[in-house]
Amino acid sequence: MTTTVFIPREATALALGAGTVAERLAAGAARLGQSVRIVRTGSRGAFWLEPLLEVQTPAGRVAYGPVRADDVPELLAAGVLGGAAHRLRLGPVESIAFLRNQERLTCERLGVIDPRSLADFRAHRGYLGLQAAVTLPPAGICQVVTDSGLRGRGGAAFPTGIKWRTVLETAAPQKYIVCNADEGDSGTYSDRLLMEGDPFCLIEGMTIAALAVGATRGYIYLRCEYPRARAALTDALATAYAEGLLGADLMGSGRCFDLELRLGAGAYICGEETSLLESLEGRRGQVRFKPPLPAVKGLFGAPTVVNNVITFATVPVILERGARYYCDFGTGRSRGSLPVQLAGNIAHGGLVEKAFGVTLRELLYDYGGGSRSGRPIRAVQVGGPLGAYWPASKFDTPLDYEAFAQAGGMLGHGGIVAFDDSVDMAAQARYALEFCALESCGKCTPCRIGSTRGVEVIDRLRSGERRAEQEVLLRDLCHTLTHGSLCALGGLTPYPVLSALEYFPEDFSRAAALPVARS
């Protein structure tokens, strides 16, 4: 009898040794005369348990982890292939609390299927969303997406269905679908996990978008820092073409959609949609003035849908199960679920897909298990390098676009980076400005010059040189960045800077000779 074992081939799991575990398991089983079929999946995203090994048993999948290569002989001897007891045995996968309590809508197949197998994808409800979409008129698809309440998951949270309808209603001989897979925010990796673990889902979502707006060409703009995602997408695109799911007459619908993978080149700003379009066209990634919106005049001047990976990947489940089903999750105007990413100094780091409404505290402690170092969590940064730094007093904020905005932060792409009490918040504020200076596209002055001046001001502030004046200057500079920048890079860099100053003022005066009264 052949036993099926699942081991991820996802970048973080591989970095933690999943490749060697798979090799040792295959070799060890062969030596014992046991027949094993090893399926290489994506990761479920419970990273502190990676490499996570799952054994198919009559009662379902039994998990073991974290498995080091050196554990494999002992596991085999204990009877791991029969799901036997062992100190690394976690029980049925569904019983792991971190996973059991999630609401996986977009990321349901992650870690479950073989991302290279179209058959496996189909066996897990793959392409049912597209099947539903081909029976609808374009405006009907846009309506379902609008009714679902889905908002752009890249960070801007614009209603997806409304963006699509704008493209649909803009007459043009050529329209484009562009996937923003330039996941540059530190603390985020849900796009990567999805592309590595369920690439057909992204292709399906983009194809539905193409049908919805009448586009015949699409691009996935992937950052070059993700070589595994590149390999997974390259494979999946070739398979989809070979199986008639892309190209002319897709799924026998008489419609055509060509999809191509393009690589970025290490520029953070290319995650900004107009900069991304410039880059796709082969130029420096400088942001464009808006309006015109990309939906009206985007790639090569044509109406273009630009959405993030998770946004597209959420569309199939909406089409398959209906707008109502998706919309029933969530709270307020934040409908559905968000794949949150726990990162930084966190004990149980990983992907947590939950309906909107869950609080930061639940995510950090019930899921994340507190800090990795064991020290108190002093600050979190939510929403990437442009997100605010928050102290523990804000941890009861619910995950909700409006609640976050009201509390002076932003949800962004759902990355949560935890810092323990060894963090120097003045250094973090300085880094935010340094990063802005490094990554500024140079088009607008507040961002290009203001970021560099900001670093200098913080250095003077930290050295205690005319403190009160420097603080006024820093706030004034941030005001200029907020209101005078063309895009979110310059416009939002003040978030981490001013929040650090507001909630952690003591860190800015450590080196000061004399305490200075704060206004």
Partner: protein, 164 residues
């Protein structure tokens, strides 16, 4: 009119071939410049500045446009890299678990600054802003392989750097 020499006369054959091959494979794409530059760097490890005129003429662009793009994107390198390029993540999630100390260690061990190549040509140290390994930092990427929870000791093992 200038009387520029044919770029083929001045380019080393490997670089000449790399450009023409990249253009043959990607030149007809819409917006071909980034795919062409990637193909050249994949093959040569860098984009030598002396290839710019040939790239420009093959794609019907100005040399300024090509140079502008190469210099805009951090990933494209105008200098020859060391035999091992080490991409070290400097972003916040890695900072929260020791990336600043790791960076200092790496610079000391390899005897280079960020973007620098060691005198013996063995190593190039490149900063990178997020490798998407944010739950298990500090992170390095070497030869397309990601490394997680990298300590200074682990760094020395991975690079074989002994600091001598």
């Amino acid at each position: 009119m200038t009387t520029a020499r044919d770029p083929a006369d001045v380019l080393p054959p490997a670089e000449h071939a790399a450009v023409l091959d990249a253009v043959a494979r990607h030149g007809r794409l819409q917006g071909p410049l980034l795919p062409v530059l990637h193909a050249i760097q994949d093959r040569l490890g860098w984009v030598p500045p002396r290839t710019v005129p040939l790239i420009a003429s093959e794609l019907n662009l100005s040399r300024a446009e090509v140079h502008g793009v190469i210099s805009f994107y951090h990933y494209f390198r105008p200098t020859r890299p060391g035999r091992q390029v080490i991409y070290l993540c400097r972003a916040e999630a890695c900072q929260a678990v020791g990336a600043v100390a790791l960076e200092a260690h790496a610079r000391r061990r390899l005897g280079v600054a960020l973007h620098g190549t060691s005198a013996d040509g063995r190593y190039t140290l490149e900063p990178v802003y997020c490798l998407g390994n944010c739950a298990c930092g500090p992170s390095l990427l070497i030869d397309g392989q990601l490394h997680a929870r990298v300590t200074p000791e682990r760094f020395d093992e991975l690079t074989g750097a002994d600091g001598s």
